[in-house]
Symmetry: D2
């Protein structure tokens, strides 16, 4: 046992449900609703090998730090707040790196007044800040953004082998739940994050809608390139999209036709397609450690 | 064993994921996205006692019927489609009643064209049609409608016993996930269901927003009465609402104040409050069999 | 609005995750792991109509009471502990009734010592105690008990109408996730609850296994009667069981037969079958208010 | 756009719910219950860039292949079956690599006969086979294995900074839900997989139980080294474990002590600790692409 090699140490507090209220002016409140996870990397071996916690920033302390820094620095959004946390932890002893993550949930203002909200549902916004020593990587994305096209999607020309039974189609429903993660350029640590995120999200959904699709692969590529086109600070984007099959129901046994009207939405199995599109070919694997869509 | 009494028989197909596309005119498609469950009541005892299926409308047949009737009659919405199913099954042998349910998922049109959509998330629309012989009950509702007020909520004046530690407050976050179910008047089987549902939903959220709340109970009562005020065809409404606690974080150990800015959103336990409000006091228990919020 | 009728008031704390350790003797610990919900009924109208909390036992107080009574009385199991809570709340002002629920999660002892456990997974044990004034109803059950027979199940002889396509079979997989709830006789408030629950669970699974099934309905009836046979204190049992379809895959397109070997487990839709079996025909609807399987 | 770099292409069918019955002899059936995902890597660029599917093995074909190969080769377990799939896909045109995953669900035999089962719940067994050209990597693991020690766990000696409030303890509940993934030696492609998996699982739970824990980190290290000790074919193991906090309830406000008896099980936030332990220091990053616990 003494020869085994210990590596990839991380510890922290996961899923701190931080909600902040900025009471603004004129009774118009602003909400931030985050789910924050902090993970530290560093000189923590003796906790593992000997149970010696002298270097272990307790996960409870990490939680307290989330809430205290939220008060001290405010929460201007997931990316900005994770950068605050990153600067704090970079300065602490025994810490060589951080893996910081936040989900952000959207709320829409109700018309009645400035302090009432309904939670919106078009996907969850995500962000990561990852540091390795002095290096800082900012990534953002979204998940569970469910989109559907009721026409404008074909699928044919695929190879047919012994196990192929699928028919070709020139008109089908195309539906997916988009998971996208993108990496910002190294210097881009002070962007108008909310605006940038909205711009990229719009580029993704617009490309989904306007691409006449011959394959979900093609749609994914179009979405990724649209995101890069829309935001010059994005260096790379990774998408992973299920093909949420909507199967045209065979009504012939009942003497009925079905001209693209009645579908059954299937659960499992589902297609699963992914890709990465980068502004240039220089990979930055350290930025992607522990993130979804880490394919290579 | 021979003396045991068998009752409350039901069988059917649950969660038929029916999606229909109405291609309309000018390329402007309309989606309906339902999760339909059918349950039959009737003369089915011998299936239970002897395994004799001579009276059992197979659940597979019930599923086929959902998709075939969707093509034959169209899907004008959850309530209307369940009424189509109810009329069909009422006419079949051995069937004395039905319990029919649909969830309906909202899709918002993307700006690019008439056939691309993003799934909206402000709650799930629900409907039930329940028949007992010639009687027909239509109920509708919503669940998972998450709302929050960042001020305008107090809680004090409650009794203090040996186990009471909670402090009083005159300003807190009030948040909940609304589950509401309402029953339409017996004759109301041909309403403009989409409009009525939108009107009632707006009444609920508006009452939530505008009620200065001294208790979640009070807010629930205000929401229920607003729904009855908004729609004369609604005879009764039942609400069940968790109190999704947002706890002001004590930052004093870190030398920080916290004037209503930094909260932690708690998961469990949570308060749970419910009530029924009816236009008159005549209960119709048969309408509520097997539904959520069936309190008495 | 002033004429509307308010009813079915309930409030309480849901999902108190109570874990107790009885350190016993000789280092052999006993765990109880419950999820407790309390709901009070009573004279609470003014909270709804005026926001006056003078009668409202705060949900926070109800939570504290769960933990304090766990220490004062111990937790001998879900039914016993809910009865402790029922006696407490029955004695408090403005309370006319209670609805008390606990889920109980099973832990199996690891062989190494007396204080290490692995969570078992064969279903979740459930219990309810419901009081109306001096009346007390004790109910118990289980959910998510997933069972499967790989043979010994047929389905044929069902009626064929215009929408029937299902073939008959004399050998299929029968699989379900059992939800069962049973009501104990009014006087049965001091049973050896753990033993009784184990006996009934064994009766249910044994009946599932040994019944040669011509319909899931028949299996459900056999399970229910077996439970009543096994425990004379059980007055009534309700079962609700999905038919978790395992579909024999058609391998003929690949030149392969499939003699009952390769199946696909389907998600949705699924059959859903339910029934109630009682020792006698006298219904006790108040016992079942707000419980699963409340069909009539 | 034309300069963007496309990489990390994958497509396949996710979550094929394959259940096989081996009818054996004497009526003693054997079940395999898998959730299989296949993903192909290769020369698929034109599908993304041009919507040309000439090289795209349709995800429907990949699904069919799962079920057909299950019949042709049998399913001897998740690792063995994924190796069958890997050999098939390695031989197909345009395929340069595969990412194959299966979850395996455990069923325990009911005593009544040889063909009735109840689904067990102590965690989900996992497996991956990943190929890059001629290279084959076999990995296996488990998730959702929930374990708890009611004593034998301490936590103290951690640094105290401005944000530290946690007290030290020399007796606490230690509970976690183990996620472990291990990599087998390159040549180990024909092991008795069921036995090996059971041996490693027992080593993990035994180390959890017997380690007097000064930190969850220490327990994780002990579990990982026990697994390597138990199975010489395991080259590397990665664990990620939440610290599922069980908080001793402060009953002093009610005049009660609480000598380690009454706890509340918290949901969020939770500690999250991970590490990798390898037999030697030579990392094999290609084996871990797209797997959980990919930390570096």
């Amino acid at each position: 046992m003494s020869d085994y090699v210990l590596s990839d140490l991380q510890h922290g507090k996961a899923e701190c449900r931080l909600v902040t209220v900025d009471r603004g002016e004129g009774g118009r409140h602003t909400l931030r609703d985050l789910n924050v996870t902090t993970q530290l990397r560093g000189d923590f071996e003796i906790a593992y090998t000997e149970g010696d916690n002298a270097h272990v920033h307790a996960t409870d302390t990490q939680k307290n730090t989330v809430f205290a820094l939220a008060r001290e620095h405010g929460v201007a959004g997931p990316e900005a707040f994770l950068l605050v946390l990153a600067e704090h932890w970079r300065a602490q002893p025994w810490v060589s790196g951080t893996w910081l993550h936040a989900e952000s949930y959207g709320w829409e203002r109700l018309p009645a007044n400035g302090h009432s909200f309904v939670r919106g549902g078009a996907g969850v916004r995500t962000a990561w800040v990852q540091t390795w020593g002095e290096q800082t990587h900012v990534l953002a994305g979204l998940r569970d953004l469910v989109v559907l096209k009721s026409t404008g999607s074909e699928f044919h020309g695929f190879p047919r082998d012994r196990y192929t039974t699928l028919g070709e189609t020139d008109d089908r429903i195309l539906a997916t739940s988009v998971s996208a993660t993108w990496r910002y350029a190294p210097g881009a640590t002070d962007l108008p994050w909310d605006d940038v995120h909205a711009t990229i999200t719009a580029a993704l959904t617009d490309a989904f809608a306007t691409t006449h699709s011959l394959a979900l692969q093609q749609t994914i590529h179009a979405m990724a390139t649209a995101a890069l086109d829309a935001c010059p600070e994005v260096e790379e984007i990774r998408l992973s999209c299920p093909n949420t099959h909507h199967v045209l129901v065979d009504l012939a046994p009942f003497g009925l036709d079905n001209p693209g009207e009645v579908f059954v939405a299937a659960d499992r199995p589902y297609g699963l397609i992914s890709a990465s599109v980068a502004r240039s070919g220089e990979p930055v694997p350290q930025a992607w450690v522990g993130l979804p869509g880490t394919l290579a």
